[in-house]
Amino acid sequence: MTVTFSAPRLETERLILRAPEIGDQDVHAAFFMSERAKFVGGPTTAERAWRLLALEVGHWVLRGFGRWALEEKATGKFVGIVGNYHPVGFPEDELGWDLFDGATGKGYATEAALAARAYAYDTLGWTTLTSMIDPANTASAAVATRLGAAYDYDFTHEHFGPVQIWRHPGPDTAQRPTYYRSLP
């Protein structure tokens, strides 16, 4: 007897959204061990970076949804993590995005988040979504604004401290991605 889980693979115009793999470890650790991870719990140790990658998979298994590794179609490179998340300590269902060095400024977070949000609303049947954003993380707030989300309330996370909760437009009004797949 086995326990089986399955994470869907999604495609957008420039990205593949897929489950994290062991080959992602070095790029993932480089981000979470760097200053750039200061808004998402870093910088951290190699051991904890490993756990942060492994737990993305476990979240899919425990909760039936989770975050995807983003693969840039043009290069095959692992460029970030985006998806639907609700760990212990988060007040509501969350749409989260982390973009690694060299992958920012291209609209990848927005492109992937549109697909993840469509998946949450249209496949999982969710009725609302939030994003937790560090007040100093203006780049992340800009992504949220592009997605049509707006600041809703303040929250104190046990480990991250004071954060803002932004709320996305609901299933009826949220923008959907215009491009889903190139494969027949």
Partner: protein, 179 residues
């Protein structure tokens, strides 16, 4: 509706050792696991931890199976599915080599849970995964764990240091040939 172009699948095998079952960690284990992780019993394994951290570690137990192809099971009482401990094979990033690891929750001691599950994990490593050797690591002051390693026939083989736990004694188990 967004249509997947494929799926990634993970399978974690379940085994039954009479009154003990070794299965994939599940959401229903979170309370028992968080209680263990919050207690002094977790001192030798990177704890004590908050519930937020305990959930992350529970998820990472599962993720380990996907990333590395082997991992640790939740050991439960077969008839009730009550979680008793976490036992299996692990080798996260800074580990010197793959090890058999065991943690037993409060109230589950004295039933040879760790010993029986660890013997099974050793067999799984050798017979299913085809390994020829395997270690276990214990903190220097975890005498109960050291006694278990010795009871399994393991002997001291150096030390190592890992970020989360600090200094660890390495115990080398009987080889695949010697078992």
């Amino acid at each position: 509706m967004i249509e997947p172009i494929g799926h990634t699948t993970l399978q974690i095998p379940t085994f039954r050792l009479d009154d003990l079952t070794l299965r994939a960690p599940a959401m229903s284990d979170l309370d028992a696991y968080a209680e263990f992780r919050a207690s002094d019993r977790a001192k030798g394994v990177g704890g004590p931890n908050t519930r937020v951290q305990a959930e992350q570690k529970l998820e990472a137990l599962i993720g380990h199976w996907h990333l590395h192809g082997f991992g640790r099971w939740m050991v439960t009482e077969t008839h009730s599915d009550t979680p008793l401990g976490v036992v299996g094979l692990m080798a996260p990033c800074d580990w010197p080599e793959p090890e058999i690891a065991w943690s037993v929750f409060a109230g589950a001691e004295g039933k040879s849970v760790a010993y029986r599950a660890a013997i099974f994990a050793r067999r799984y490593a050798y017979e299913v995964l085809g390994w020829s050797t395997v270690i276990s690591c214990t903190t220097p002051d975890n005498h109960r764990s050291q006694a278990l390693a010795q009871r399994m026939g393991a002997t001291r083989d150096g030390e190592c240091h890992v970020d989360d736990v600090g200094r660890l004694l390495i115990w080398r188990h009987l080889s695949a040939e010697a078992v």
